[in-house]
Symmetry: C2
Subunit: 316 residues, 2 copies
Amino acid sequence: MNETELIHQIIADLGEQTQGETVMVGPGDDAAVVQWNTTDNIVVTTDTFVVDRHFSEDTPGDLVGYRCIAATLSDVVAMSARPCYVTVALTVETNSQDWVFEFVKGVRTCCAETNTRIIGGNMACGNKSATVSAIGLVPDSTYVRRDTVCNGDDIWLTGTLGATKLAISANVDWQPKPLEELLQKRDNCFMAAYFLPRVRIEFVEKIRSYVTAMTDISDGLQTELEHMIRSSNLGARIDVEQVNMWDRRHKAHTLGCDDSYELLFTLPKAKRTKLEQNASETNTECRCIGEITSTRGVKFFDNGQEIFPVSGYSHF
Amino acid sequence: MNETELIHQIIADLGEQTQGETVMVGPGDDAAVVQWNTTDNIVVTTDTFVVDRHFSEDTPGDLVGYRCIAATLSDVVAMSARPCYVTVALTVETNSQDWVFEFVKGVRTCCAETNTRIIGGNMACGNKSATVSAIGLVPDSTYVRRDTVCNGDDIWLTGTLGATKLAISANVDWQPKPLEELLQKRDNCFMAAYFLPRVRIEFVEKIRSYVTAMTDISDGLQTELEHMIRSSNLGARIDVEQVNMWDRRHKAHTLGCDDSYELLFTLPKAKRTKLEQNASETNTECRCIGEITSTRGVKFFDNGQEIFPVSGYSHF
């Protein structure tokens, strides 16, 4: 079983324990949504980051801390909610206290930037790993699922893809910079873009009333598009020239394996002007990269020629 | 720095990011409490369980799954809240799929017993470890902190301590029994009691209006009592004869190192009859084991003789 099949089987095994009157969206989307009162829904997600899998042993703690928080909040934002609270469960070897305090600094910095509170945590001894859980709020029934695309919708993407491959290759002999310095360079340095993903809270609050489906890019553009169309009979056609990339020499890898935590979303063509206005108001770089089609499957075209991404990153 | 000092320093470093108008109880108690609406507070906690630290490699997945959920819900219940939702982040080696499905069965069983929904999760590859986050509900301002003891309060404890040491020693050559069979034996088998802690939801809902402070036993009775009195000028005096134990030959260890997830709480002497009535109504075994005193420190007396616990288990 691959990762997707395993997760589907687990959700099937959990059966009715994943369902309930108050559970609007259970396991399987970017985050869960529960009905709490008549005004708001609560959005909940959890994400784990493991050494040698999601970051290297020598990555400075502040960069790991920032990225773990931003990546987890990204799942809340991808449901169009505003993140409010996080808990952080950290596992480290007992001789890593300096690294722990650096990690805490990264967590604090990302939470301060996003106006999110750290309300709990856990420390355990073992291989370096962090699990962040996040809770957000969205006005009742205004959350956006990822599997509700409509035929003919435009497909949009924020930011620039491809920092993952460049950052992982460069990390070997990279001389880490202070977090404060990297925060200023997210638009023009792929290392900064990789470690410090943007959490686009104001943007999603503006667009949530008219986007039809949304997700974040944590497993590669191709895999995320497949998740978006899976429960429909629809497909997606992507114009690769429209996808912003850090380095166009790695197109196939960038389309398949990126985890930049950028937002991927769909909307009716009639909303294009509104979207461009909201993107401009919030200084959000975003591009229309393709269209939802009635032909099943996800297809990538580069100057009219079909190209095939390197298969997506598996976290498991 | 030991575990407690490290956690205090981390909370200090996080500074105002742990605080906010809606944060009633931040990091440092069993669980956090946030104000959500005028009717309810939300209680949130997270807990990590690591192979070779919290369970052995050969422990059946269903027992690990059940225990992880019960132990985490115990933190929610220790604030006197009703657990509603959990997320489960599981890290395993890719060749452990059979174990994963056993683990899922244990999770499902504990959630079904406690009427808790699994709303999200994460799978990652690495050394076996699980992080469970839980969300509960408590009527506005009726949550119970652990550091609000009063001088002269009686100290009460549910259940029986000491299964930890016995279970860990016996686990080496234990022939695991099916989960269904062990669930029937929690009152008379220490292995069942260890792996399947009780989540005392109905009991805390009855007592929360009059108990003064409450916590669960996750780091040993002595350490939990120290947490309870830390922010006061008070102390605790325990009559060891009153503490129910699986095996009284291991008194010093049982008082210091147990993680049975039993509830430890205090109440005014005038509420004793009410407590006994509520315990009886919910079939909850509990005993008065001592008293909060004006003399600082935690002291244990066994038939009038002071005894000293083996120092508490450190999870870090």
